[in-house]
């Protein structure tokens, strides 16, 4: 059962509260902090009261508990079956979890049950020993906050090397690729993991002193005409952006998306894919890009 109180915020918060009660360190203030951190915004109105008035007889008046042990819960069958399914995923080699203890567990699903029919065909080589090795080194740098020296090929094929501070490993399901985001060197803000030739761990750094680049986003304003189910298609298609939709009049909507300038070309062709159902009304630069494509199309047909 996927939707179960066993995995819920309340059980989780109460387990953490009881852990401190078993240790004899629980205070009312601490209880509130734990609940705020592990449950929901309004849970502080219910959990402490239920524990204090013995509706849930788990805590005594002096914040001790009749429980003898720190609460722990074994993994459920569902969790183990999901973990076993991951062991069949080609990407699992990148993360090196230990398979012991799952030998007799059937997987929850098999990779071939899923068909990612519009995923790009040139995904990363997850079974390539060098790729896996680079990935492990990079993950270690991220985990241990270590600088990294990288040797890689740029998109033009030119080789580069640089020292950098890695801060994020980004995955795109559509591209089926990992990209490493780094700071500290202008040459390698984003490195496609498949283009890494080599990498080497360097000294640790203090992550609190690292200034991550501020993401520069711009607003794209679209006018949508709800024909051929365009409203649902577009809103779902663009749902991974921060967005706001306003209904203007019957079947007309204004959608405002926030996007990053570096993704403009990709967004341009995504907007084009909606044809006349979607009209860009701002920014002017984006409109000019669409006009340029349309003009070029006319030239193509002459």
């Amino acid at each position: 059962m996927l939707f179960s109180e066993l995995y819920g915020g309340y059980f989780h918060a109460v387990a953490a509260v009881l852990k401190e009660a078993v240790a004899g360190t629980l205070t009312d203030q601490r209880m509130t902090e734990i609940i705020r951190g592990k449950a929901f915004a309004e849970s502080v109105l219910t959990i402490p009261a239920n524990l204090k008035n013995s509706t849930w007889p788990l805590l005594c008046k002096d914040n001790t508990t009749p429980l003898l042990n720190v609460p722990t819960m074994p993994l459920t069958t569902l969790q183990k079956r999901w973990m076993k399914a991951l062991l069949l995923d080609p990407r699992i080699a990148l993360f090196e979890p230990r398979a012991e203890g799952l030998e007799a567990v059937p997987p929850l699903f098999y990779p071939d049950t899923f068909v990612y029919f519009d995923q790009y065909n040139d995904g990363d080589p997850y079974e390539d020993a060098e790729y896996i090795d680079h990935f492990h080194t990079t993950l270690r740098a991220l985990r241990e906050h270590r600088k990294l020296k990288v040797w890689f090929r740029g998109h033009t094929g030119v080789r580069h090397s640089a020292e950098c501070f890695p801060y994020r490993m980004e995955y795109s399901e559509k591209d089926d690729k990992f990209r490493l985001l780094t700071v500290g060197n202008r040459r390698c803000g984003v490195i496609n993991m498949a283009r890494l030739d080599s990498c080497e761990l360097l000294e640790p750094y203090d992550p609190d002193l690292l200034h991550l680049p501020r993401r520069k986003t711009e607003a794209l304003v679209l006018l949508l005409r709800d024909e051929r189910n365009a409203l649902e298609r577009a809103l779902l298609h663009f749902s991974h952006f921060e967005k706001e939709t306003v209904r203007l009049e019957d079947r007309q909507y204004r959608i405002t998306l926030r996007y990053e300038r570096e993704d403009e070309t990709e967004l341009l062709i995504r907007v084009l894919s909606f044809g006349p159902m979607v009209q860009v009304i701002s920014p002017d630069r984006f409109i000019a890009l669409i006009r340029e494509r349309l003009n070029r199309q006319e030239s193509c047909e002459l």
Binding site: W82, D118, R233
Partner: protein, 414 residues
């Protein structure tokens, strides 16, 4: 009934969250709720779980609530919070901690022994203790055994229970995998539950083009995967997303077709009544009832393999057989990336170089109409478009004419 931030049934909240997340422009009066209070309660719950991502806008029609997240900027899907909000009874939570405490030292106990220990060890410390009978305890033990938390064995005529042993699993070694796959694998919410077991979890993973909404369909997907695993038929309650009408469909589920670009997921199954393979959007499935094993499963899987050879997306509507389509694309100097795009993005078919600057993409698909959005992404480079289904070419050029008009172009007739 007094407001509670927890919920018993996921289905209603699934609808509200979808509406707030996808649309977010409807006013309170437009929600098809039983009462205004029902709407207010659901909105308050979602606010309690996801307050940081909730926005409000006031317009002439009233106050609109929306959920907005840039999925690239967050390491974990916030919609999983809804799955952590299952309601329970006072006895459920109390018994949970008592039972796991009693078994934590590896003890083997019968249900009767557990009741006695609960009375002596825990409830004796309270003035007005909660009452438990043995049948309640036995029911809970059975439930926990089914969930895999406990195991049982016969000892003479008695059944004794003990805690499941998962100590061979090195959970620490799974932390990175759980953090990544909780976002990048099916039923990632299970990974999110796993991450709750750690003090902290890695925040250095990011996800681009990441559709968070799939999370809300996890229960349905989980039921479908159980049925697929056991090769069982299912009865689906499917709601038409436009009309709201609900229908029952009985089929043998085979595969999940997931789009990485449209945010949609589909079930492909063999529909018994129609005697053919059919797709169902998973977000339209309201209920899955698992039925009997189907001995023809392998045969249907063979159908699927053949069927897949000419599927572009999920449309099978063509009665004409296959549509043959050819698109000739111009590749300028230094524009190798266009050829790369064609090779990378084509799902079927082939690319033929006609000369140094011209490439022809050729494919045979069930329904070329569903290729139009992809064809439009090559606007600016299409020299020729031909299709055995004339409406594909007509629609493409009519849309292009409208776009030219829309953007003030059209110097040349299209």
């Amino acid at each position: 009934m007094a407001y509670n931030e927890l919920i018993k049934d996921f289905e209603k909240i699934r609808d509200y969250m979808r509406e707030f997340y996808i649309y977010g422009f409807k006013s309170r009066e437009e929600y098809d709720a039983k009462s205004a209070r029902s709407y207010d309660n659901e909105r308050r719950r979602i606010g309690s779980w996801l307050g940081d991502y909730m926005g409000f806008r006031q317009d002439a029609a009233g106050k609109n609530v929306f959920l907005s997240v840039d999925s690239r900027s967050i390491p974990h899907n916030p919609l999983y919070q809804a799955f952590r909000a299952k309601s329970f009874t006072d006895k459920d939570i109390t018994l949970h901690f008592y039972i796991l405490d009693l078994f934590s030292d590896g003890a083997e106990l019968t249900s009767g022994e557990i009741v006695n220990l609960i009375l002596e060890r825990y409830l004796a410390q309270y003035e007005e203790p909660m009452s438990f009978d043995e049948s309640t305890v036995r029911k809970k033990l059975k439930e926990y055994e089914e969930l895999g938390l406990l195991t049982s064995r016969k000892r003479g005529r008695e059944v004794v229970y003990c805690r499941s042993n998962d100590q061979a699993i090195d959970l620490d070694s799974w932390m990175d995998a759980a953090a990544f796959f909780s976002e990048a694998a099916p039923l990632g919410v299970i990974g999110a539950y796993l991450l709750d077991k750690y003090q902290t979890s890695p925040a250095y993973y990011g996800f681009k083009h990441h559709y968070l909404l799939h999370a809300l369909d996890s229960s349905v997907l989980c039921d479908l995967l159980h049925a697929i695993d056991e090769r069982r038929a299912v009865e689906l309650t499917v709601r038409n997303l436009r009309t709201g009408q609900e229908n029952q469909r009985t089929l043998c589920p085979l595969n999940i077709y997931a789009s990485t670009q449209s945010g949609r997921q589909y079930l492909l199954g063999y529909h018994y009544r129609g005697k053919r393979l059919l797709f169902f959007r998973i977000d339209a499935i309201k209920k899955v009832t698992i039925g009997n094993c189907d001995k023809n499963y392998e045969t249907y899987l063979e159908y699927q393999k053949r069927f897949d050879l000419n599927l572009w997306g999920v449309s099978t509507s063509s009665e004409r057989g296959l549509d043959h389509i050819e698109m000739t694309v111009h590749i300028g100097n230094g524009e190798q990336f266009i050829l790369d795009r064609l090779e990378r993005e084509k799902r079927h078919g082939r690319c033929e170089m006609l000369d140094e600057h011209t490439c022809r993409f050729v494919a045979d698909v069930y329904d070329a109409l569903e290729m139009i959005p992809w064809l439009r992404t090559f606007i600016g480079r299409i020299e020729k478009l031909q299709c055995s289904n004339p409406s594909v070419v007509d629609t493409f050029y009519e849309d292009l004419r409208q776009m030219n008009k829309m953007y003030g172009g059209g110097g040349h007739a299209v």
